[in-house]
Amino acid sequence: MAQAPEAAYSKADGARGFSDVTYGDIDHEVLRLLQPPGRKYWYGVAFLVALVVVAGTAWLRQIYMGLGVTGLTMPSMWAVYIADFVFWVGIAHSGTLISAILYLFRTRWRTAVYRAAEAMTVFAVITAGLFPLIHLGRVWFFYWLFPYPNERWLQPDFRSPLVWDTFAVSTYLTVSTTFLLMGMVPDVAAAREASTGWRRKLYAVFSLGWQGTEEQWRHFSMVYLLLAGLATPLVLSVHSVVSFDFAMAQVPGWHSTIFPPYFVAGAIFSGVAMVVTLLIPIRRWLKLERLLTPWHFDNLAKVILLTSLIITYAYAVEAFLAWYSGNVFERTTFYMRYFGPYGVLAWIMVACNCVGPLFLFSPRIRTNMPALFIISIGVNIGMWLERFVIIAGSLTTNFVPSQWGFYRPSITEILITLGSFGWFLMWFTLFSRHMPVISMTEIKEGIAWHRKALEREDAKAA
């Protein structure tokens, strides 16, 4: 890894971003990624496709044999699949945070990383959306979740959190895909001008015929701003609705009013960690050191640190409320969470989510790529475990000890979980070499802004 940029990093450089880069450099740096990739890349894609095929086979077998091939049994009828669902929806959220919320706040460091984060959002939602289907016993009836007039007098119950989930997640998928495609239009037009053959045709379709007139920009800026404005409350609502899947039930450990903010913070925490986990290797493999500077990672690390502190606070409040309530069921559930059958997992979760990120208080660690990579991988593991201990852990030791049980994931569930990582990474890998993974127009806009800011500074100094 090129150590020079890290070594040369200082606060002043951070404020200046990449002000020495020209517009032409940006096009050159980003468009070279759209050249046909080499053999190593396709080996990687083939490996990921193999993971997906294995998982697909496991799913087919599950459809044929029934849910008995999973480890699901009373009292734990929700476990790994639902943990995977919540995990992937959570991963999606940071993309919208970085692309929409930070856009509304006019945060300058988002420009280089937001496209990758936004693409990650779409692919994570596609992955998440599979899990409720995988978890269905009779998946061929999945369309019963949608309301449509029928002769069986069957209608979804709009009071059920599972139906809210259908609406929230499918809206989220549609809006985040629209937002991604919309935002890419000017960049894809630039790619169209630089390419030939079938790629040129593909980019011509995705660019819709964009030519960059002031008139087109006027409509574009307005629709982009409003989509960001719509995506912001949407992202907060989606994970709140996902948390309602639990909070609306009466199971101790689930039935809690702090769930919506706690889950939203956790989603952003795990999502930003995933952005960092993906961008550190991409930056090295695709040689993007000039565009993805330590300044960007420093800021991403600060978001991880902040959300980690919120999560730590939520863990503490949850445990405190269980004790303070005096309710024997709540107390037992939380005692069992940390000292029961899944206690080891809960402590790994605390180590990864609460202790690991504390190192990010050090500015040197925030810009040290290997350290940041290890911490972010830890957060991903910790956040997956959090969902697992909340979902399976709370169910296995609920109200009456006579119905307590122990859940162990079967090989089917493990293969499908691994396959979901293959599926997600496959889409992301394909995207990163076929579409502009870094926004050229926004970086150019950022540079123009930086230049003006520097001119103002110089004028003041003079």
């Binding site: 819709l208 015929g209 920009w217 719509l230 609502s237």
Partner: protein, 170 residues
């Protein structure tokens, strides 16, 4: 009416491009258009365009979404009545979630439709005077004017710092 021409000036600098637009608009030689590689506030100011009407599409879509959300949920409750312990057939608080999601969905989609309609997208023929460089690192200013005014327009573009100026017949 005398012969019309288009004068195209290419700029490397945002500020010079904006100044050229201001001068040309002041001289009132003809219609001025600009090609920019990124949304430039400066060029936007110089063009003095009104705010995009796409926002009304989003508003309309959002309102339609809220109404549809409540219509769907309340309507379903009464079309497929399911009495539970004498409770009312429809309950508003959970329906707010559906209405909210549909507001976002319809608002976003109708915004995109508005964007496509106002720009006449998709369009697969390049606009006249477009150059691929305008998607990269160059700014373009196009003046559509009468032949008699062409020289004045060219001179203005050059004075403002255009790298290259050329004339296209219409």
């Amino acid at each position: 009416m005398s012969e019309q021409v288009r004068i195209v000036g290419t700029f490397a600098d945002e500020e010079q491009c904006a100044e050229a637009i201001e001068h040309l608009r002041h001289l009132k030689l003809g219609k001025v258009e600009a090609f920019v590689p990124f949304p430039s506030e400066r060029v936007n100011e110089a063009m003095e365009l009104k705010r995009s009407p796409v926002r009304w599409w989003v508003l309309g879509g959002g309102i339609t979404g809220v109404i549809s959300g409540f219509a769907l949920t309340v309507g379903t409750s009464y079309t497929y009545p399911h009495h539970v312990g004498g409770k009312s057939l429809s309950s508003i608080p959970p329906y707010v979630i559906i209405a909210f999601e549909l507001m976002i969905l319809f608002g976003a989609l109708s915004g995109v439709i508005g964007f496509l309609i106002h720009n006449r997208f998709p369009r697969f023929e390049p606009l006249p005077s477009y150059s691929p460089r305008f998607a990269g690192d160059r700014f373009g200013v196009v003046v559509s004017c009468e032949l008699a005014q062409a020289e004045r327009a060219e001179a203005t573009l050059k004075e403002s710092g255009a790298e290259e100026v050329h004339r296209e017949s219409v």
